[in-house]
């Protein structure tokens, strides 16, 4: 019989492996630090040039070196808001149907098919929105067109997250409501809603973060003109789309302005994402802990 030798080289290898793993995990920190440092550094020239007016002016004129980001910030928030307004009722409806009303055999195929929507690349939705959907609905490139396309893209994410949240509702609560003679809808309003409210808010916010950062699909259908108007059918512009359109042939200060836009976008989406993750985790922990 061979004896196990537990000394010497294997211990060295053990320690080396541990450090390799630490290093791999550390890459996340390095990359994020690099992003923060390089981007803010490159964004500084335009802030020095424009001051706070960079955020408060909507005048963006490359020939006169005037860079005001307000129009793009507004466009990003407005299209994302339209997308959320469309996607949320639909996502909740689908999530409720799948968890509460669908016959058992239908659940899996439904979930798989909706997940397929999530895999379709965004540029394909952009192409379809530009050449098929917009002409069919009689729409030009506008806030609304971009909002609809973004809504289609974030629906699968919001649906699958809310499905998970809703599924944590204790079966005993639901059975109790039904045993009292409640209809299915009354059972949902009495047990599922109060139980999942927090998690559902988080799911919506994660969808919001996704909608604000989406670039390519929006670039093809938003209209690419700055307009500060609430008319959803006016052409618009947003932070990621102007970066995609103008960065390629930009002069240094123009470039700095676009990078400052990227930093702004980065900060907003990260804030939304973190709050969302926090809300989802808190509500999941609370419902699982009980």
């Amino acid at each position: 019989m061979q004896l196990l030798d537990l000394r010497g080289r294997s211990q060295l290898a053990d320690r080396a492996f541990r450090w390799i793993a630490v290093g791999a995990a550390g890459i996340v920190l390095v990359v994020l630090a690099l992003i923060a440092i390089t981007m803010t550094d490159r964004a500084r020239p335009v802030i020095d040039h424009m001051g706070l007016e960079f955020f408060t002016s909507s005048r963006w004129s490359v020939p006169t070196n005037t860079y005001g980001a307000l129009g793009f910030i507004f466009g990003t928030l407005y299209t994302a808001a339209i997308a959320i307004a469309i996607a949320v009722p639909i996502s909740f409806g689908v999530a409720l149907f799948v968890t509460q009303a669908a016959p058992r055999w239908l659940k899996r195929p439904l979930v798989y098919t909706i997940d397929l929507l999530a895999v379709v690349p965004s540029v394909v939705f952009g192409l379809w929105g530009l050449l098929v959907m917009a002409p069919a609905l009689g729409l030009q490139g506008s806030f609304a067109t971009a909002g609809i396309i973004l809504a289609i893209m974030i629906t699968p994410i919001i649906t699958s997250l809310s499905r998970e949240v809703i599924e944590t509702t204790p079966a005993t609560d639901q059975e109790a409501a039904l045993a009292l003679g409640a209809t299915r809808w009354e059972m949902i309003t009495a047990t599922v809603w109060p139980h999942s409210k927090g998690g559902l808010v988080g799911a919506v916010m994660l969808g919001l973060g996704r909608a604000m950062g989406e670039t390519i699909a929006a670039t093809l259908v938003i209209g690419n003109t700055v307009h500060l108007t609430l008319n959803p059918f006016a052409p618009g512009y947003s932070m990621p789309t102007v970066i995609a359109n103008e960065f390629g042939e930009a002069e240094p200060l123009h470039r700095s302005a676009l990078i400052a836009l990227a930093v702004t976008l980065f900060v907003i989406t990260i804030a939304v994402n973190l709050v969302a993750t926090w809300i989802v985790q808190r509500s999941m922990r609370r419902s699982l802990g009980k």
């Binding site: 196990l4 294997s10 290898a13 053990d14 080396a16 492996f17 390799i20 793993a21 630490v22 290093g23 791999a24 890459i27 996340v28 994020l32 390089t38 981007m39 009722p89 409806g93 689908v94 409720l96 149907f97 509460q100 439904l110 098919t113 397929l116 895999v119 379709v120 690349p121 965004s122 540029v123 394909v124 192409l127 379809w128 098929v132 959907m133 289609i152 204790p170 209809t183 299915r184 009354e186 009495a190 047990t191 139980h195 973060g209 950062g213 670039t215 390519i216 970066i243 995609a244 960065f247 676009l258 990078i259 990227a262 976008l265 980065f266 989406t269 990260i270 939304v272 994402n273 973190l274």
Partner: protein, 291 residues
């Protein structure tokens, strides 16, 4: 649970309301299927037409120098997508899996592990266009256009996803497997490499495939890193390249002949991502760890 259950309304009204709401839920499902079906139909009708009309030239011919010319092909874009996505996978998957091994097997609830986990969440939320600009500033400015620049950007996007998916799978490996291995005298690294990782492998593979499918469809991160070649470029590190997603983007607003090629490229790209997703499903379905 709180939430008042008020059953005093007229039974017929309550039943009607219930039916109405169930109807609305069904309506929502129908609404979701409309765009999915419409996109698939457009892809098959417009993309399928052009791909089949010039099969297999569509995948082997170069992209016409003048976009007005109708006909194939998209060969260089297929090569570019495979090179950039493949290289990104080679970087992000080993690093991501090792990172997850640290988080779950070594770090646990420690301070560094918590920090990395938090930052990985932050990194998942970085918009892809921001990642594209970042790679432009640290790589493309110095080394010029190449598939590798695009791969770097894609790898940065994939890394947190791979870490998250892998850690979740490691969490499913039952502790008694680790304990049995330690009891036999195996070291920690040995246990991880020969017991834990093999047990979690199918789930990790599936998570990685989904991350790869996402990355293959990305456009924004490649925009300022890959360039716009129209001829074949098999080199990862040298010279401008192109990708299916970028060809779809640039041809979408071009003349009809170019838009035709965009549809063909879109069909190719969607088939590629669906294939990866389907393979992932098979892995999760067949070899999944029992919870």
């Amino acid at each position: 649970m709180s939430g008042a259950l008020d059953l005093r309304a007229k039974p017929s009204w309550r039943a009607a309301k219930d039916r109405l709401m169930t109807g609305l839920m069904l309506g929502a499902v129908a609404v979701v299927f409309v765009p999915l079906a419409a996109v698939m139909w457009s892809l098959v009708e417009r993309g399928g037409g052009i791909v089949l009309a010039s099969f297999p030239d569509f995948f082997t011919e170069e992209i016409p120098r003048f976009s007005r010319r109708a006909g194939p092909g998209m060969g260089p874009a297929v090569v570019g997508t495979l090179l950039a996505t493949g290289t990104a996978t080679l970087m992000a998957v080993p690093l991501g899996v090792l990172g997850a091994v640290y988080l779950h097997e070594y770090g646990g609830g420690g301070r560094l592990a918590r920090l990395v986990r938090f930052m990985a969440t932050v990194m998942t939320g970085v918009p892809s266009i921001v990642m594209g600009l970042f790679i432009y500033l640290v790589w493309t400015i110095h080394f010029g256009f190449s598939a590798f620049g695009g791969a770097l950007a894609l790898a940065c996007l994939m890394l947190p996803v791979v870490i998250g998916a892998s850690e979740q799978m490691l969490r499913l490996v039952p502790n008694h497997l680790r304990e049995a291995s330690y009891a036999l005298g195996a070291t920690r690294s040995r246990t991880i490499l020969t017991v834990v990782l093999p047990a979690a492998l199918p789930g990790i593979v599936s998570g990685c495939l989904l991350a790869i499918a996402r990355a293959a469809g990305e456009t924004a991160p490649l925009l300022f890193a890959v360039g716009a070649a129209k001829t074949f470029n098999w080199s990862v590190l040298d010279e401008a390249n192109t990708a299916l997603s970028m060809q779809i983007f640039s041809n979408a607003m071009d003349v009809p002949a170019a838009q035709g090629r965009a549809w063909g490229a879109a069909l190719t790209l969607v088939l590629l991502t669906f294939l990866l997703t389907l393979t992932a499903r098979v892995f999760t379905g067949r070899f999944a760890l029992k919870r």
